[in-house]
């Protein structure tokens, strides 16, 4: 029997079953323009020296650009120590170990992570992480539906200011359940959701309201008012937040009179590098009263028979190795390695350091906005408070602007045209602590030139 599981014959049979003519056809959704066709194969029998040289030459084709793109994945400085420590053999695993309690170091690290992220969210408990921001939002919604048992069918109010890709992930994960996702339109003048918009929606069977902070456009939502509105309508509140921003802004646990019930989001801004979209990790926290509906692994601290401190996986009866099909989630693992990096990142920066980074991002954002306001042909779309992202509208097609700036090695931002056609030629620009005043000047002068041409 061949070691390679798929023989040519088997591949043919499988393709015939699904009605495809070739394996290549399965990748048709990748636009032809994005595929590399002219890359010659690596010649055989190269020496290590020759091979290194070839690879260096090829790698040099990827030029590093001055990056102003955010939209869910953010460029931040990561201290060198973070990945140096994370890469140690003792930490270098992606999983919580199967014989969990034998690995006290890993469990302690996860416990510290849970403590840090719960404190950042100002909520009682956190799990040991999820796959990414989008799936953590979907799990938060499933969790709300399990918690809110008074409603037989569930309606989730989902603002259009939530990341469009997250909304797609949610649709994929919850569409087979009795959960209806109701879109809440945003105010075109402010880029935020309003109580007026919520009031226009039927109040029947509202299970939860999702509140993004900051929202996809970088704007700060009126979290207190929205939280109190949801609670007044017997709905749970799910805060979808940028964890770094929470070092500066009011965290979900403190929103409104009673605080958000669940907080979730993307952990990437806390020590995880940009790497073509992943791997990242998601976080999920909640109030103590909902802990049994919290999916995934939870590490607890206890004492042994001699009174010595020890760490254990706790509340395991929620999980699939015990609850089988009725487990709180099919996700039984977590993004251990990225959480390790994130925990070390947070511990090196500390609460004050995180706040400084968040503040630097915001101050850079304010400085950039001021400069953008002076550029002819550029309009900052929404007035009001924001974190570190700005939506701008051009008179010219946004693609032209992006192409021109790319020629000067500047990634100008994320075009939102496909997701929000009503906003016209709009570009979402992000600025973090990594940019100097000189970078901002360079960016703005290139934008100015591109708008004039």
């Amino acid at each position: 029997m061949p070691f390679i599981p798929h023989t040519e014959q088997e591949v043919k049979e499988m393709l015939a079953v699904i009605g495809a003519t070739s394996v290549d056809q399965l990748f048709d959704e990748i636009p032809a323009s994005l595929r590399v066709k002219d890359l010659p194969p690596v010649p055989p029998q190269l020496t290590e020296m020759e091979l290194s040289r070839l690879m260096r030459a090829r790698a040099a084709k990827d030029v590093s650009a001055l990056n102003f793109m955010g939209a869910g994945a953010y460029e931040h400085h990561i201290p060198a120590a973070v990945w140096d420590i994370t890469s140690r053999g003792e930490f270098m695993t992606a999983y919580t170990p199967y014989q969990a309690e034998a690995s006290q170091g890993t469990l302690q690290l996860l416990y510290e992570y849970q403590t840090m992220i719960a404190s950042l969210m100002s909520l009682d408990v956190s799990n040991a992480s999820m796959y990414d921001g989008g799936s953590s939002l979907a799990e938060a919604i499933l969790m709300a539906a399990r918690t809110h048992r008074k409603n037989k069918t569930h309606r989730i109010l989902m603002p259009a200011t939530v990341h469009p890709l997250y909304r797609d992930v949610v649709k994929t994960i919850v569409s087979q359940q009795d959960i209806e996702i109701v879109e809440v339109p945003f105010d075109l003048n402010t880029g935020k959701i309003t109580i007026d918009a919520l009031e226009k929606i039927s109040k029947e069977n509202i299970t939860a309201l999702v509140i993004p902070q900051p929202n996809f456009f970088g704007m700060l939502e009126d979290v207190d008012t929205l939280t109190d509105w949801a609670h007044a309508h017997q709905a749970l509140v799910i805060g979808l937040v940028n964890p770094l921003a929470m070092a500066l802004l009011k965290p979900p646990g403190q929103w409104g009179k009673n605080g958000a019930d669940i907080a979730c989001g993307e952990g990437q801004p806390l020590g995880v590098p940009l790497a073509s979209g992943g791997p990242y990790y998601g976080f999920l926290c909640c109030k103590q009263e909902y802990v049994r509906q919290l999916p995934g692994r939870i590490v607890g601290r206890t004492v042994d028979q001699q009174g010595k401190q020890g760490f254990v996986l706790t509340l395991q009866a929620r999980e699939q190795h015990i609850r089988r099909a009725k487990a709180t989630s099919n996700i039984c693992t977590n993004q251990g390695l990225l959480v390790t990096a994130s925990t070390i990142h947070m511990s090196l920066l500390g609460p004050k350091g995180l706040r400084k980074v968040a503040l630097a991002c915001h101050q850079n954002g304010c400085a950039l906005k001021e400069k953008l306001n002076t550029v002819q042909g550029v309009r900052c779309v929404f007035p009001g408070y924001f974190f570190h992202e700005i939506l701008v509208e051009f008179k010219k097609p946004v693609e032209t602007i992006l192409t021109e700036l790319a020629q000067h090695h500047i990634q100008a931002g994320f075009s939102v045209k496909k997701y929000y056609p009503e906003l016209g030629n709009a570009l979402l620009i992000c600025v973090t602590e990594t940019k100097t005043p000189n970078d901002l000047d360079q960016f703005v002068s290139q934008l100015e030139r591109a708008c004039l041409n």
Binding site: R149, K150, R292, A317, K326
Partner: protein, 130 residues
């Protein structure tokens, strides 16, 4: 060791006991069931006014090592739940037929289907042991 099976109660195949007092019935889990589960750490109960069908999953009892669903043995509407179990789930272990009751419901019908007598239930438990 044999578990207690009071003669005055009715039983379900899924290890719930049923006691009828006038127009409501009280439901709990049997001594045998609590013994098999071990020390309970958490009990999840249905909301008051919930309507339940025969065999519907309506509560969860969780021990340190397992979680088990409770199936409704008599169709009806929930009128009362044992809230003391939220703070003291061990009452189910200590006194399964008394302080450890789970919930009370008002049955939709006056006759109950598919219930076992104490002797029948004892036989079922004995046969499951083999």
């Amino acid at each position: 060791m044999t578990n207690s099976v009071p003669k005055t109660l009715k039983y379900s195949k899924t290890h719930e006991w049923i006691r009828q007092d006038e127009d409501v019935v009280t439901i709990g889990i049997t001594d045998h069931a609590q013994c098999m589960l071990g020390d309970l750490v958490y009990v999840e109960l249905p909301h008051i006014e919930t309507s339940l069908e025969l065999g519907q999953e309506c509560a969860v009892v969780e021990s340190v090592k397992a979680a088990a669903d409770i199936y409704c043995p008599v169709p009806g509407e929930i009128v009362e739940i044992n809230e003391s179990l939220f703070d003291s789930p061990q009452l189910v272990n200590e006194d399964p037929y008394g302080k450890g009751w789970l919930f009370r419901l008002r049955p939709f019908e006056s006759t109950f289907r598919e219930l076992l007598s104490a002797d029948e239930y004892t036989k079922q438990v004995a046969s499951e042991a083999h």
